[in-house]
């Protein structure tokens, strides 16, 4: 089922440069249809935004991409590899990282440990070599620590290094979560409401970090966000969804003008 009313720039086959291709996925919980036939693709280096009302299925789309849910229909390919059916930790190994709407940090651990956990799948130390420590485990620890410190530097988190992150301000925690994703060295970064609950100043900070990450690390990102300013400013393309159905896909301007999007989501203003 293709969408005729809006210009469709995401014919899955069309773009050879696509990193992620989501093709007609459908997801049901019991009797509830959470996602119906959603198709889009994300190009390498692109920042793709998903907008829509609460309960529209945005987060469910994320959960399908990184293996928390398994869609009953459709396929999701990352760099041509089918990832439907993979566990979330396997998608992590494939290079999918994400932040959480309500923060997914490990509150009792400090920043360094949280970021080191991002590198978990890049490290090898097991219980035995960890217990012995001297030798491989220590070398690996030091090497990965260096990478983590680079990220701490990039995101200006140095001042809080050894505090349990649960005790840090919300804005900082959001930034740490972004940092943890970067530590994973992902190919695709999923940002779930990165600026929710932030004031303008914090939002500007976060926006700046997102932009910097994009330009420095050439990262491909998908972002779910309600703050239309952020979406309009940062996204290359936007997809609007409602009731698990795609309403429109296009440049921010195109989507903003779309009557169905205005009716379902934006309201009279904007």
């Amino acid at each position: 089922m293709s969408d005729t009313s809006t210009p469709d720039t995401t014919s899955p086959a069309a773009s050879a440069d696509a990193l992620l291709v989501v093709d007609g996925i459908g997801l049901r919980f019991g009797g509830v249809q959470a996602i119906t036939d959603v198709t889009f693709s994300v190009n390498r280096g692109e920042l793709f935004a998903v907008i829509g009302p609460n309960g529209a299925g945005k987060t469910s789309i994320f959960n399908c991409i990184n293996g928390v849910y398994r869609p009953q229909q459709g396929s999701i390919r990352l760099d041509g590899v089918e990832i439907v059916g993979m566990h979330s930790r396997e998608t992590a190994e494939m290079g999918v990282a994400r932040t959480f709407q309500n923060l997914g940090l490990f509150g009792n651990l400090d920043i360094v440990d949280n970021l080191m956990l991002g590198r978990h799948h890049l490290m090898k130390t097991g219980f035995l070599s960890g217990a012995v420590w001297w030798g491989r485990a220590k070398r690996e620890e030091i090497a990965n620590r260096a990478k983590v410190e680079e990220i701490i530097d990039l995101l200006e988190l140095g001042n809080f290094r050894r505090k349990p992150v649960g005790m840090l301000p919300y804005g900082i925690q959001k930034r740490i979560e972004l940092g943890r994703c970067l530590a994973m060295e992902p190919r695709l970064l999923l940002l779930d409401e990165p600026v929710a609950g932030m004031n303008l100043e914090e939002t500007e900070d976060m926006a700046r970090y997102i932009i910097e990450v994009r330009s420095n690390l050439d990262m491909t990102m998908i972002m779910v966000e309600h703050d239309m300013h952020v979406v309009m400013d940062l996204a290359d393309r936007v997809m609007a969804v409602d009731f698990g159905v795609r309403l429109a896909t296009g440049t921010p301007e195109e989507v903003q003008q779309d009557q169905r999007v205005i009716d379902a989501y934006l309201g009279k203003a904007s």
Binding site: T59, N63, V68, F100, N102
Partner: protein, 298 residues
């Protein structure tokens, strides 16, 4: 066939005892999310108090039970007021540990006061039986069943229709939000402990009536009831009763048929069987048959 019925009935009788004990656990867990290890201690205290009133003061049995319920509830309340309230907001297992501390205290206090010798509860049922056709049923078992069902019905009505019951459920879900509605968590916790204390006294009667007698060993029933609680769902009164019955019958049938069906198994498999049933159920339903799953959101 009569043998099967005999085993099943014996199992049901034991199951109702488990159910009564389990109901006390459930109410505290529902309100505070703490498994109260001292429940067995409260139960022991309750039984000894009944004994104390019937034998020493020669109070009529039903009145003695009510008096014991009141005193046991009072002790439970006092513990909540003096200790657990101060532990609020601390790790759950620190709270559980505190109830274990109380268990040590109650256990030994009871022995210090009444000694360790088994005593006669003084209930009116004794070992009298009634027979229905071929089947013989102990009167005390019928009473235990009636008490268990009675307590269950009272719980149901309480949670469904009373304000305090609603407050208890709300507090269990989100204490601070409940406070914001003007529900006093203190009241709720005290009520839960009070009810659990009273229930413990009733359960104690179920355990120690008839020839069993009053002895410090009645507290072990509380530990044996654990599989019942978990199987039924730790926060569900109905689950407690059904879990209790399943465990009781499973145990009795295992004991009855082990030698015929599994002669190669080591003796005493009936002690293990409840846990096997419990694990099997939990593997399918991690929160028991009737328990509320945590709503997990990503």
């Amino acid at each position: 066939m009569t043998r099967f019925i005999e085993f099943a009935l014996a199992g049901l009788a034991q199951g109702f005892v488990y159910a009564l004990v389990a109901l006390g656990f459930v109410i505290i867990y529902k309100a505070t999310e703490v498994i109260n290890f001292a429940q067995g201690g409260l139960l022991t205290l309750g039984v000894y108090l009944v004994y104390n009133f019937t034998s020493g003061q020669s109070v009529p049995f039903p009145l003695a039970v009510v008096m014991s319920m009141i005193v046991t509830a009072g002790v439970a309340l006092l513990f909540e007021r003096l200790v657990l309230r101060r532990m609020l907001g601390n790790p759950v297992f620190a709270q559980v540990m505190v109830t274990i501390g109380l268990l040590f205290i109650l256990q030994n206090l009871v022995i210090a006061i009444w000694g360790a010798e088994p005593l006669n509860l003084g209930d009116p049922w004794g070992i009298s039986t009634i027979s229905i056709g071929e089947v013989i049923i102990e009167v005390r078992d019928l009473w235990t069943a009636a008490l268990a069902i009675g307590v269950l019905v009272v719980f149901f009505l309480f949670f469904r229709f009373s304000k305090l019951g609603l407050a208890m459920r709300a507090t269990a879900v989100d204490q601070e939000a409940a406070l914001a509605q003007g529900m006093s968590s203190r009241q709720v916790y005290m009520a839960a402990w009070g009810i659990a204390g009273a229930t413990a006294a009733i359960a104690g009667v179920g355990v120690a009536a008839g020839a069993t007698g009053v002895s410090p060993s009645v507290e072990f029933v509380a530990l044996l009831a654990f599989p019942a609680i978990i199987l039924g769902g730790i926060d569900s009164p109905l689950g407690a009763v059904i879990g209790g019955l399943i465990i009781g019958v499973t145990q009795s049938l295992t004991a009855g048929y082990q030698n015929e069906l599994f002669p190669w198994l080591w003796a005493g498999f009936d002690d293990v069987m409840p846990f096997i049933v419990m694990v099997l159920v939990l593997l399918v339903r991690p929160y028991g048959l009737f328990g509320t799953p945590e709503i997990k959101r990503v």
